[in-house]
Symmetry: none
Subunit: 208 residues, 4 copies
DNA sequence: TAGTAACCGAGACGGTACGTCCCGTCTTTCC
DNA sequence: GGAAAGACGGGACGTACCGTCTCGGTTACTA
């Protein structure tokens, strides 16, 4: 979760940290996010909800940002990309899946907040990237490879170009969904997903 | 800036609010954003920088969120859409312009933060929309009409469909740029803008 | 209270209002003292109650202390000392009269407060003395002279000694009543007044 | 000082309150009273002087009134009543002792102020009574008993009457000294003490 | 089976910022 | 041209959290 100093050498002296406390804290954090939102969430309140002392909390996380990233990250583990038979169907599927996570009150209030904080905190940005962003980007890579296998989009031999293209797709898809959901504050429903897919799929199939 | 209940009835009794104070506060807010970032910015500090009492601040803005939205909003006024001769060139141009605003330290740290807050505050969302978002959406409408005149994209007779399409384009363009700049934290340079334009322009020309 | 447009003769033009304002302010001050007490009374509130601008208030009084002294002072004008036939009866009478003023909520809360302030403000002390204290001390002088005429207490030829004695009596009587009423917070009723009179009257008749 | 709910059960969980902080705060309060007086004394300033956070102050005292009562109360602990051989000498002694405390700048500015506040705050009045007033009333009881032993004043068999008489004496003595010192603002010197003693001693010896 | 080291809860600590109230002063406009 | 209305710079309020620091006590490995 946080710091595993020596994964093989689990035998540190003294009493080990309570695994239950970890789970209770993360759960309490998500509940507090739902009820209070990011800005009203406090460490002390989370500690109380989790039935834990504040010190226990600070022993594991450096602050609110880190705690919330970890608390929200697990929600992105449920992302999958079932093969729906075509590039368009896959894009539509991933858009809807991503949207369903973004609509949850805990992610809605937390995601933009930690991103905002990360603009001035490199360590936090790294944590967000590994805990949240990469979990989504994985889907782009999978879907792209699958489309190449299907022959819907061409192979790109140059690895660098290929990565650049994947990043572009990721920013376009994730950015559009986030913007629709949080800035425009309109629903990301099947209809919008279809419109969006129609807009970018021709581009996906013709560019690199 | 705040509320002008009756624009014609300017004659309220008592001493009128200082217009200089307004300007000084907004300037001080932007400076503080640059130096401290969103989370370390405090109302008291802004007041001190502006040479103004804290009460003067609270008389005009309900809190940090509202103040920052107004302080940052003016930066988006500089957005223009010169006719660069083609749809692709226009898209590329607006992407780069938008990106240049987003790269400024004051917008970078503030924009995501207020969006995050707005997920739990409808009034704030409305303020963001009118002060910032709509100022950009205007460009989409202009560019779209211009492309229709050029014959690059078809006319859409149905006004509702047309508006839906414009909203989609806006979410895709703005979302992608914001995501690239703030979440992925990679530069939105001419190269990326070209790649992005290439990706979506075919879609723009064929859909709706 | 403040503006009476009632009589029909509204007297629109002209100068007045200034004399009314004085009375309205002092009345409002007493009402505020009753409702809020000394420490919660504010200049702005008094101005509002009096239907007067704060500036009008500050033009006449330097601050809360001075205002309250003047507002409360008039209450001491009603003090009288009817000749009750004997020294003891006169003492008892003055004790009860003084007590009845002290029991009023506006004096109760204000008197000790301005005295406390006066320990660090000589001008205020002078104002209290002339506006309040001397109004009470007058009764001691009258009662003493009357008792001398009756032959209950001896004449004192030495004016300085005489003044010293009068001051002593004043401090004992006023001090005891104030202490009973405000510090011990017990009622100064007829019974207590009789006990008090019994205690000091022999002393009064034998000393100086 | 504050509340010791169960003197035997000293083992409350958590970090105990700092006794040093208590002492530092009370000392700082007295110093601030001397330098600034009651009305200019602020909680924040006291905290700073004591090298303590404002919250630490508010954790122990509800406000300025309560704090000042406790800070000043200890000064009254030095009151004693040495047997000076006669009722008159004892009265004169206690008057001078009491006066010497009242002349101190910290008591002078604070005592009347908290009494004034206590007229609208029953809890505060109780605190003043137990922390300050009762400490002095003790002396009356001692001196009275001593005089009875000496045969200077008669025994009073009725306990209720006896208590009433003691209260009366206390109000007269304390009230006169306070009034002389704080309202008349004249010195309570040996001469005044002698005059005062002469005035009331005959009464003391003949009544009740 | 005794030590010992790190854990645990509770809660006080020095701080910072909050948003409000009131101060006493200063415009501005109206009557 | 005096006074209402009300904004102004300023200071203190009492509160909420911050992240740290004792406390007394518990837990589990190690000697």
């Amino acid at each position: 979760m946080c710091s595993e100093p020596s994964p093989g050498r689990t035998a540190r002296p003294g009493r080990p940290r309570s695994a239950e406390a970890d789970a209770a804290i993360l759960l309490a954090t998500r509940q507090a996010l739902v009820e209070l939102g990011w800005s009203k969430l406090t460490m002390g309140d989370v500690a109380t909800r989790a039935g834990v002392a504040k010190t226990t909390l600070y022993r594991r996380w450096a602050g609110k940002n880190e705690l919330v990233v970890d608390a929200v990250a697990v929600l992105f583990d449920e992302l999958e990309l079932p093969d729906l038979g075509s590039l368009a169907a896959d894009v539509e599927g991933v858009v809807l899946q991503f949207a369903s996570i973004l609509q949850r009150p805990e992610t809605k209030t937390a995601l933009m907040a930690v991103v905002a904080e990360s603009t001035r905190d490199d360590a936090l940005r790294g944590r967000i990237r590994s805990a949240i962003v990469d979990r989504q980007k994985r889907l782009v890579l999978i879907g792209r490879e699958r489309a190449q296998v299907r022959g819907e989009i061409p192979y790109e031999a140059d690895a660098a170009l290929s990565a650049r293209h994947a990043d572009l797709i990721f920013d376009v898809v994730a950015g559009a969904v986030v913007h629709r959901a949080l800035v425009s504050a309109e629903p990301v429903d099947r209809e919008w997903a279809r419109d969006f897919t129609a807009l970018i799929c021709t581009g996906l199939q013709t560019t690199t």
